[in-house]
């Protein structure tokens, strides 16, 4: 059997590619930063400005509900922290599927996986900023009953825990195709927890956790989120359609 050997130019190209990729390890954050600078923030959420607005309205609704509920605020913040992220991811992905833009987006230089990774980072940051604001307003609104740092810590724990879980699911083509599963599972889990345990008792648990422990939890979950994001960014989803758009 004749095995066709590569031609000289093919060999050179392959060696050059290996050297280029092999000598310099790829770094996710610098790559995402370069992409963001090249594309611009304006195009990062292009076509989804209405979805961002809806998600922000959802967060505002949560604040208005919690304003009068200082004694269950922490429990509600943990459960509802990923709301903005969840709403954006779910509605944006649904919208893009309805319009039918995903296929050509997947073939662009900056593909959907890279865009999603960047969006997740930005949404995580936006979510964190919103949680901080929410914590401030709640503290002011409840006359100091809700501590700002504790509120921010609890909500960041919820946000990063959700983000981490979502990224782990995205590693599997089967689970990635059913983007509605995690939001439903999260909501059901929180509802079950709140039904099983008195929300005030759950709230009390969050009140008793020392701030240092809470802070460590935030940092660990943030690290887990970034680690999972890196795995998603570099290894994608082999064997199936490499769609992302926050699924």
């Amino acid at each position: 059997m004749n095995i066709p050997m590569p031609e000289e130019n093919e060999k050179r190209a392959a060696v050059a590619a290996i050297l280029k990729e092999g000598w310099r390890p790829r770094r996710m954050l610098p790559e995402l930063w370069r992409m963001l600078r090249r594309m611009g923030l304006r195009y990062m959420f292009y076509g989804a400005q209405d979805v961002l607005f809806l998600a922000a309205c959802g967060v505002l609704a949560v604040f208005l509900l919690l304003r009068e509920q200082g004694d269950v605020a922490y429990a509600a913040l943990f459960a509802g922290a990923p709301l903005c992220y969840m709403l954006f991811c779910g509605i944006a992905a649904w919208k893009e599927r309805q319009i039918g833009v995903m296929q050509w987006k997947m073939a662009c230089t900056y593909d959907l996986r890279q865009l999603t990774a960047c969006r997740m980072l930005l949404l995580g940051g936006l979510g964190a900023a919103l949680e901080a604001l929410l914590g401030l307003f709640l503290s002011a609104g409840t006359g100091g009953e809700v501590e700002v740092l504790r509120a921010v810590g609890v909500s960041l724990c919820g946000l990063f825990a959700y983000g981490w879980a979502q990224l782990l699911l995205l590693r599997s083509a089967k689970w990635a195709r059913n983007g509605w599963l995690l939001p439903c599972a999260w909501i059901m889990a929180q509802a079950a927890l709140l039904a099983a345990v008195d929300p005030r008792r759950l709230n009390g648990f969050f009140v008793q956790v020392p701030l240092a422990v809470l802070g460590t939890g935030v940092l660990l979950l943030l690290a887990a989120f970034l680690w999972a994001l890196r795995g998603y960014y570099f290894y994608g989803n082999r064997g199936g359609i490499r769609f992302a758009a926050n699924r």
Binding site: E10, A17, M39, T109, D111
Partner: protein, 283 residues
Amino acid sequence: MLQIDNVTKQYGKFTALSEIDLSLENGVYGLLAPNGAGKTTLLKMLATLLFPTSGQIRLDGEDIFQMESRYREKIGYLPQEFGYYKNNTPRQFLRYIAALKGIPAKRAKLRIEELLETVSMTEHGDKKMKKFSGGMIQRIGIAQAMLNDPEILILDEPTAGLDPKERARFRNLLHGLAENRIVLLSTHIVSDVETIAHQVILLRGHRLHACQPPGEICRTLSDRVFELPLGEALPEGAVFLSERQTGAGAVQRVACETAPEGGMPVPAGLEDVFLYLYREEGV
């Protein structure tokens, strides 16, 4: 050169494509097969939307999936169902896609104007796309695929839903775009490719059946295609291909080994070969 080496794609137990081997160089390749034959699957793999179950696809010796964004920089892709933002104008829409393709803003602006001119859409550049016809949307689709001046242009059924005039316009457009690049165009409409394709790729039974110039493919049925008046009984073994209207009335084209009574031999066309080859697949 784009090399497709023994590529197979399976979805569970269903085999969409089996052991496809192709070498593609600059030129227009018409991927011709009936619906469900695997054309879109092959094109999606070339556009990196799908991974092969086995086999490899290489560009100048490098695996395209390992190349990642370096490969996607070199391709332009127009999917079968081309979605767009209805409230965008073509200029807004193309600026966004240019950003996704990493094209700097100044260069993108010039390129967009060039492409709008090429696809005859300059005067509609600031109108909302929700008002456009199917043909106009497809032209914007071609323009977005060409934004990065790709080495490989992948068009999945680009003429689906277009009227004959738009399809003719599209063929003329492709003539101009096909220089110095690989153009891969899938269709089940023979007339889309018979005059513009340098090579026609036929898929059959989810496998590669042929990759040859149209003339050579037509020669597979040479001296075996006949026309006789519509309604005449066909001899045993003859395969009905199509019917058409002539000045003398309706005639039927058939393929058979020997000339039927009253039959006039005619040169075999690409459509004859297509209909003959896929006759068992309900075409």
